[in-house]
């Protein structure tokens, strides 16, 4: 996997984290470490040789080392909590300063050893207890995520809980200034890698599940719809219901579900539609392949149907043979080891760290409804065999609403920059702050695109940006969610950019495609367009007239 340079800042010896990260990222990863103990210096005046605007800072400190008042509080000295929080405020200001000079800041929450009794029964009492104070200090850290779009606070307590009583390692600390045991650094490294995956747009987007003994207990073909284990009062049925609830929770945050099952389709759908204990219903699934075919082939078909790359897929199946088949045939698909005990299904799903995203927007919350609309749209296409493709497009009554970049749409625009792979001209990954900074320079424009049709509102699903230099304009970004690809919106976006360029007396619009492993669909759009081709990857639109707006699209500005 790839990651930008990482710079570790800490008040303790953090070399075990550096080696753990290198273990996953590879020897070529650029990982530097600030001199330990010089936290404020490293935040306020970072070494420009080690920290640039492409660097991710990982700042892991102990509260007693960077907040003097908390050190005194830990010794049960008389300390005004308000004074300690004022110190925390100075520390968070330093973090904001650092965040302005780098790409991202990851900061674990502050922790203290669980074994410390401190004020015991009173330790959570506001104004007195040390743990009460620490909770408030961590809230101040978390609030940084509201103040800055490139600061993320990680839950270090979860790393310590994973390890238990041996999380803190006093002897290792006294000898090497390393306060935590190696498993804590291993847990931290895993969590940080998940965060980097999220920030680089590598989050998984869809979970494909088997049915028999995965979504419900038993084999519906043998046991019949009334004989399967689901819900009710037996533990096994409860376990499958709990697993379905966890899957439903994923859909609520924008993760899609699909089915790949070797089964009789009509019987399986009967259970999904009618079984009184089913939590997931047909409308929760973006697609399904319920047949007797090879599951690898079925996943490839689902990938094409849903326009999602296989690297977005997670495959869950109780059968280790099917898991092995998918792992070997489709290595891009994440196939988690799955427990044999159904009671552990929900917890295993809940523990997956592959769905993390840096932002959740209204489009994510509405995704399930969007998928239902998309399935209806596809059904309308296949159900109109006599109509031409353009007639079908026309029947969609698609409208494209254009918005200038604004604080309200910036989070979603940032998400599209970092999640969209297929229709993405350059795949330059920029944080929301970086997009805002880029757009503020003279001669640059960024538009956000909302798409809706008669089946529903797909939400903010596209971004176009343009950079004008005299008589020439360069299309900097052409990004469109796979959800709305193939309906002419791509060409409406070219129209939008070229119309603006023409209004600025620009005579040539240049569009340079930068190839990645996944953005082949973008090149296909350009090749099939009315643009002139200057080379294999450079396309142009010349003249005073804008690129034609597809007749089936209504543009709203």
């Amino acid at each position: 996997m790839t990651a930008g340079p990482l710079h570790l800042v800490s008040d303790f010896n953090i070399d075990l984290l550096a080696s753990g990260l290198r273990g996953t990222l590879g020897e070529a990863a650029v990982i530097t470490t600030a001199p330990f103990g010089q936290v404020y210096q490293a935040l306020i005046a970072p070494d420009p040789a080690q920290v640039t605007d492409s660097t991710t800072l990982i700042v892991w400190t102990r509260p007693e080392s960077v907040v003097e008042g908390f050190r005194r509080a830990l010794q049960l000295g008389e300390v005004e909590h308000s004074a300690v929080l004022a110190e925390v405020d100075r520390y968070t200001q330093a973090l904001l300063t650092a965040a302005a000079a780098c790409r991202y800041v990851l900061h674990p929450t502050w922790t203290i050893p669980a074994s410390k009794r401190l004020y015991g029964l009173l330790d959570l009492k506001p104004g007195l207890g040390i743990r009460s104070l620490l909770v408030t200090m961590n809230q101040a850290l978390s609030q940084l995520m509201e103040k800055s779009s490139n600061i993320f606070v990680l839950d270090a307590d979860s790393w310590l809980r994973t390890v238990g009583a041996k999380a803190y390692a006093p002897k290792l600390e006294f000898i090497t200034k390393t306060p935590f045991s190696p498993p804590v650094f291993a847990a931290a490294s895993k969590d940080i890698i998940a965060a980097l995956d999220a920030l680089e747009g590598r989050a998984r987007k869809i979970v494909v599940v088997d049915l028999d003994n995965t979504l419900w207990g038993g084999v519906v073909g043998d046991d019949g719809p009334d004989g399967i284990h689901l819900g009710g009062h037996e533990y096994i049925g409860e376990a499958y219901a709990a697993f379905q609830r966890s899957l439903l929770a994923l859909t609520n945050r924008g993760i899609q579900l699909a089915i790949a099952s070797k089964n009789d389709e009509s019987l399986a759908l009967e259970v999904i539609d009618s079984h009184p204990e089913m939590i997931l219903r047909r409308e929760h699934f973006a697609g399904w392949r319920i047949n007797w075919n090879d599951k690898a082939a079925n996943l490839v078909e689902l990938s094409q149907e849903l326009r999602l790359g296989l690297q977005s897929f997670v495959f869950i199946d109780d059968n280790p043979v099917e898991r092995s088949r998918i792992s070997s045939a489709l290595p891009e698909v994440l196939v988690p080891e799955w427990p044999a005990e159904p009671a552990l299904y929900a917890a295993t799903l809940d523990a997956l760290d592959c769905f993390d995203v840096p932002q959740i927007t209204s489009e994510d919350f509405a995704r399930t409804a969007t998928h239902v609309a998309e399935r209806q749209r596809r059904a309308s296409q296949s159900g109109a065999p006599t109509g031409s493709f353009s007639e079908w497009l026309d029947s969609l009554e698609t409208s494209v609403q254009v918005e200038p970049l604004s604080p309200s749409n910036l989070p979603r625009v940032g998400q599209l920059f970092n999640k969209t792979n297929q229709l993405n001209l350059t795949t330059r990954r920029l944080s929301a702050a970086e997009i805002d900074a880029w757009a503020s320079a003279p001669g640059r424009k960024v538009w956000a695109i909302r798409v809706r049709d008669r089946f529903g509102d797909s939400g903010l699903t596209g971004v176009v940006s343009l950079e004008i230099d005299g008589p020439t304009a360069r299309l900097a970004d052409l990004i469109l969610s796979c959800r709305v690809m193939g309906r002419g919106v791509e060409y409406a976006m070219l129209h939008l950019a070229s119309a603006f360029a023409a209004s600025q007396q620009v005579t040539t619009l240049e569009i340079e495609y930068r190839r990645t492993e996944r953005n082949g669909p973008c090149l296909k759009v350009l090749q099939e367009s009315a643009l002139s081709r200057r080379s294999d990857t450079v396309f142009v639109w010349e003249g005073s007239q804008p690129y034609p707006l597809p007749p089936e699209i209504r543009l709203v500005q």
Binding site: A169, T176, F185
Partner: protein
């Protein structure tokens, strides 16, 4: 309670697995009889050697049901001492256990 040299090697292997959680996945530390530790040419960093010795110390303490003092500042600084190789470490542990049992 006493332990055999073979059992000590099993504990050393378990400690190596603890350490490997923070080592490059493609070159895990897999100690053999003559694997160098703090001697010149060893594959582990000085921090990793200390972390490994402490992990062995903890595993041994759990095995014996009592605290064991394995780490020693002067020994860790001596490249020809008992922390030279995994084998010399096992011999050192065996000597400590026998002395304590005597």
């Amino acid at each position: 309670m006493s332990v055999t040299r073979d059992r000590i090697f099993e504990l050393i292997g378990a400690a190596a697995r603890d350490l490997n959680a923070t080592q490059p996945a493609h070159k895990p530390f897999e100690p053999q009889e003559d694997t160098l530790l703090n001697a010149d040419g060893g594959e582990l960093s000085s921090l990793a050697v200390v972390t490994f010795i402490l992990a062995v110390e903890e595993r041994l303490g759990d095995e014996l049901g009592r605290p064991v003092q394995l780490f020693d500042d002067s020994l860790i600084a001596d490249p020809s001492g008992p922390f030279r190789t995994t084998g010399s470490l096992a011999d050192h542990i065996l000597g400590l256990v026998r002395t304590a049992s005597a």
